[in-house]
């Protein structure tokens, strides 16, 4: 099933999303700009990270504006980005004029964001934007004069390999009177990255790494030497002791004016146990500074470069999952081989030994599977934080008095699901704030607490997690819903609906319970999107409401996009996967056993008439001869059963169902795709859709 609003990296695109993202960027910029200005005023060192952050913010804003086609904003952001780049490279001096230009730009952005829905206002802003952009352009100062590095006790080869940006950083640090030193460390070629990262992290506690120059080690095939150019307020001797390196590894290149002004040093770790650079194994040990010092009980805090938690890119987790999936497939293949070995008398002996090993491997693999799945679990707290922020802002914007209660922030879900959850949850909460909670006066008039209450509660229920959003607002007016549905032709006049079904009407596309479109709720439609999004994750949405008292929307999600077992079938030489939990049994039948009745095909299954569906015909694939033997996969959910006709069965596999991304809206009958070890995606059938289709056809005939 394909998603129209699939996120590549961002959420569903509405102007509102643009505004909230842009606002976050501007918030950061304001903060960073304030920091920058303080430093400037105090004559302090300008933190290059702050300038870098500002630069990246301006750049993100430019990209965001470009994506949405807000050209004037993009253009201004581009100018701001340029001047920040100049600042970063030392081409532009940090003066009040520069700071105030950037500040003006941020203000202008903010006011433009408020006018987003108003194209006239945007058009009117083009001129002031253009003028500001020109002033920024004019403010770019001439490049700063260069200084020579001749007085540095540095190998010229190192100076030759510095890029412009690195030269600038070096110049800056010299100007600030920092000590410049050179640290040499040798590592094994196979594993240098880890050791080097630890070393650089440790160095960053005491200074700035300006440049990293690799050179052949003593044994060039196996070793690699790195010369790190470091700037620090601490003199070289202190750097030596704090990093626990041998004295020869750190060489002062240029003494600075600062005399040991580094952050308060604890008693240096005894370097006695350190051996001079020698055989490869030992030099690797030296480089793992943190490890050594921790074991000596040295200064754990300043050298602790490895923290307890690790931030992991979700794509890496996905790769891990994929690898585990592939391992699982190979395990299956090995199982096959073991069976064959055991079956043949000549190899039975080795087959049985093999089987023992395979069993152990299997056990470990399952443990690995659990462990990886475990890593993907994250608590809902991050989502809750984001929701809180939005609610805080919205309730001011909407002028409503609302209290937000959050329960169950510790509840854990698969990280991917949590990421997908943010949009639907945000939408439901916005709806509650916007539509459900009445304005103060109305609440008082109705005898309610003037402060409205929205409560988000998350808890685990078996294999699922439930996230319920309740409010004590107006409740849903089903009569209103019904008449709306009728006016849109979704409902025939006079058609009866139970209360439950009436409430479910809010999930129909095109239904809005307010005649005006409000910006905060993204134009009043969207519960259908929530429904679609949740269904794609394998979840369901339920609504309960009492008019005048409140509404509860409960989202139930599976805990993890877990590895589920699927039956692989072959139709017209193409493989498909059917989730095993929907498969009741499989049969091999002869073509003659298929009976026909009223244009449909049926099978007599133990006295019951089982409707059949030919997948080949269904999917417009080449059909096999009608008399041939074929397999029937009996699928069913609840009471409904159906038999799928396929050419061949291809075993069972562990699969992870992935949604199909792309511009085509959902393909009926396909739930997603999975990879089975090779790069060829295999489509996963949507059993409930196929069942519903047969049902529809039955009713129609």
């Amino acid at each position: 099933m394909a998603q129209r609003r699939r996120k590549g990296r961002r959420g569903s695109k509405t102007d509102q999303e643009f505004v909230s993202e842009a606002e976050e960027i501007l918030d950061r910029m304001r903060q960073d700009l304030a920091d920058l200005n303080e430093e400037r005023v105090a004559g302090d060192d300008v933190d290059p990270e702050v300038v870098n952050r500002l630069f990246r913010s301006a750049h993100s804003l430019k990209g965001l504006a470009g994506l949405f086609g807000f050209d004037p904003i993009q253009d201004l952001a581009h100018r701001v980005e340029d001047i920040l780049d100049g600042l970063r490279l030392g081409r532009v001096r940090l003066e009040l004029s520069v700071v105030s230009l950037i500040d003006e730009s941020v203000h202008l952005f903010a006011s433009l964001l408020e006018q987003i829905g108003n194209p006239d206002a945007l058009a009117a802003a083009i001129e002031p934007i253009g003028q500001l952009a020109e002033r920024i352009q004019a403010a770019r100062a001439a490049p700063a004069a260069e200084s020579e590095f001749g007085d540095l006790a540095l190998d010229p080869s190192l100076l030759r390999a510095l890029t412009e940006y690195e030269e600038h950083r070096l110049r800056e640090n010299i100007r600030r009177g920092r000590h410049i030193c050179l640290i040499d460390a040798t590592f094994e070629i196979i594993s240098f990255e880890e050791g080097l990262s630890r070393l650089t992290a440790a160095i960053r506690e005491v200074g700035e790494v300006l440049s990293t120059l690799p050179a052949p080690g003593e044994a060039p095939e196996a070793q690699i030497r790195f010369s790190l150019l470091v700037a620090s307020d601490a003199p070289a001797s202190e750097v030596v002791s704090r990093l626990g390196l041998p004295a020869g590894a750190v060489r002062l290149v240029r003494a600075g004016a600062a005399a040991g002004a580094a952050p308060a040093a604890k008693a240096p770790a005894a370097p006695g146990a350190l051996a001079p650079p020698g055989p490869a194994a030992e030099s690797d040990e030296e480089a793992t500074v943190a490890h050594r010092d921790a074991s000596e009980g040295g200064e754990p805090e300043s050298l602790k470069s490895i923290s307890d938690t690790v931030r992991v890119d979700i794509h890496k987790l996905d790769e891990l999952m994929n690898l585990v999936g592939e391992l699982v497939i190979q395990r299956g293949a090995i199982g096959e081989l073991v069976s064959r070995l055991s079956a043949d008398a000549a190899t039975a002996r080795i087959g049985s030994d093999f089987a023992k090993v395979h069993k152990a491997l299997d056990r470990k693999l399952r443990e690995l599977q659990s462990a990886v799945l475990d890593v993907r679990m994250v608590p809902l707290s991050q989502v809750f934080e984001k929701v809180s922020r939005v609610v805080r802002r919205l309730r001011t914007d909407l002028g409503k008095d609302v209290r937000l209660e959050l329960r169950g922030a510790d509840t854990e879900l698969d990280k991917l699901i949590v990421e997908e959850l943010v949009d639907p949850l945000m939408h439901v909460v916005r709806n509650a704030l916007d539509h459900a909670i009445e304005p103060r006066e109305e609440r008082i008039a109705g005898g309610k607490d003037p402060e409205g209450r929205i409560r988000i509660e998350a808890f685990q229920r078996g294999n699922h997690v439930v996230i319920a959003v309740s409010d004590d607002g107006r409740g849903i007016d089903t009569a209103n819903l019904r008449s709306l549905a009728e006016s849109k032709g979704i409902l025939q006049p006079g058609e009866t609906l139970s209360e439950r079904e009436a409430l479910d009407l809010i999930f129909m596309p095109g239904i809005s319970t307010r005649s005006e479109v409000t910006e905060t709720s993204g134009r009043g439609v969207g519960m259908d999107v929530v429904h679609t999004n949740l269904t794609a994750l394998g979840g369901v949405v339920d609504v309960e409401s009492t008019p005048g008292r409140g509404t509860t929307i409960a989202m139930t999600l599976p805990i993890t996009l877990a590895i589920i077992q699927s039956l692989i079938v072959v139709v017209a030489r193409q493989r498909f996967a059917i989730p095993l939990n929907a498969v009741h049994e499989t049969l091999l039948i002869a073509g003659a056993e298929i009976q026909r009745s009223e244009g449909r095909e049926l099978l007599n299954l133990r006295g019951e008439a089982l409707p059949l569906l030919r997948l080949a015909a269904e999917f417009n694939l080449p059909a096999s001869p009608p008399d041939a033997k074929c397999y029937v996969v009996v699928i069913g959910l609840g009471e409904t059963r159906m038999g799928l006709l396929v050419d061949r069965l291809d075993g069972q596999q562990d699969t992870v169902i992935k949604p199909i991304q792309g511009p085509i809206p959902a393909v009926r009958g396909i739930a997603g795709a999975t990879e089975l070890g090779d790069q060829d995606p295999v489509l996963v059938l949507d059993v409930s859709a196929l069942l519903a289709e047969t049902g529809r056809r039955r009713d129609a005939s």
Binding site: G11, K13, K62, H315, Q661, P663, R668, P681, L683
Partner: protein, 173 residues
């Protein structure tokens, strides 16, 4: 006879990539005429282009699984680092002659305006071309409408594709 040993690394975040290019931009250029960066590629022997900001990555052609009930100009889906993406046969989509995929064929993974991603199957990718805005001309009315503008490079016209149009499939089935 050539092959790549590794298509290494996860795709760098788009913003990082663009940030670096922004840092590399010349000053003088910014003052005069706005310049667009276009990724040019080949379809049925002719040059086409898409804005480079819309390009997430370019990958080799890999097994494409056909998906039933999709419009004819969608080849199917591919698997890319765990994601399943739809791939559009751009030749068919632009009503050019269908053709077999060659060694130089590639799939360009693009971002749609709404954040979605899709793959475009093309015969080969060429280069990133900086094009000044004034070199863009609207396409003739007779075009299919998938080509937004033409840009002039020397004596050649490069068709700049209207990505929104190409990626819009109204629900017909």
């Amino acid at each position: 006879m050539s092959s790549s040993q590794s298509e290494s690394g996860a795709a760098a975040p788009r913003w990082q990539d663009l940030a670096r290019r922004a840092a590399e931009r010349r000053n003088a250029e910014v003052e005069s005429v706005a310049v667009r960066q276009l990724l040019t590629f080949v379809l049925d022997g002719s040059p086409y282009a898409v804005p480079v900001e819309r390009v997430r990555e370019i990958v080799r052609v890999r097994p494409i699984t056909p998906v039933p009930r999709l419009p004819g100009d969608v080849c199917g889906v591919i698997s890319l680092r765990g994601e399943i993406l739809e791939v559009i046969d751009l030749r068919l989509r632009l009503r050019l002659h269908a053709g077999p995929s060659g060694r130089a064929s590639r799939i360009i993974v693009v971002h749609a305006a709404d954040g979605g991603v899709a793959g475009l199957l093309v015969d080969g990718v060429t280069e990133v071309l900086p094009v000044p805005e004034d070199a863009l001309r609207p396409a003739a009315a007779a075009e299919t409408g998938n080509v937004e503008t033409l840009c002039v490079r020397g004596d050649r016209f490069i068709s700049l594709i209207d990505l929104e149009r190409v990626l819009r499939f109204d629900a017909q089935h």
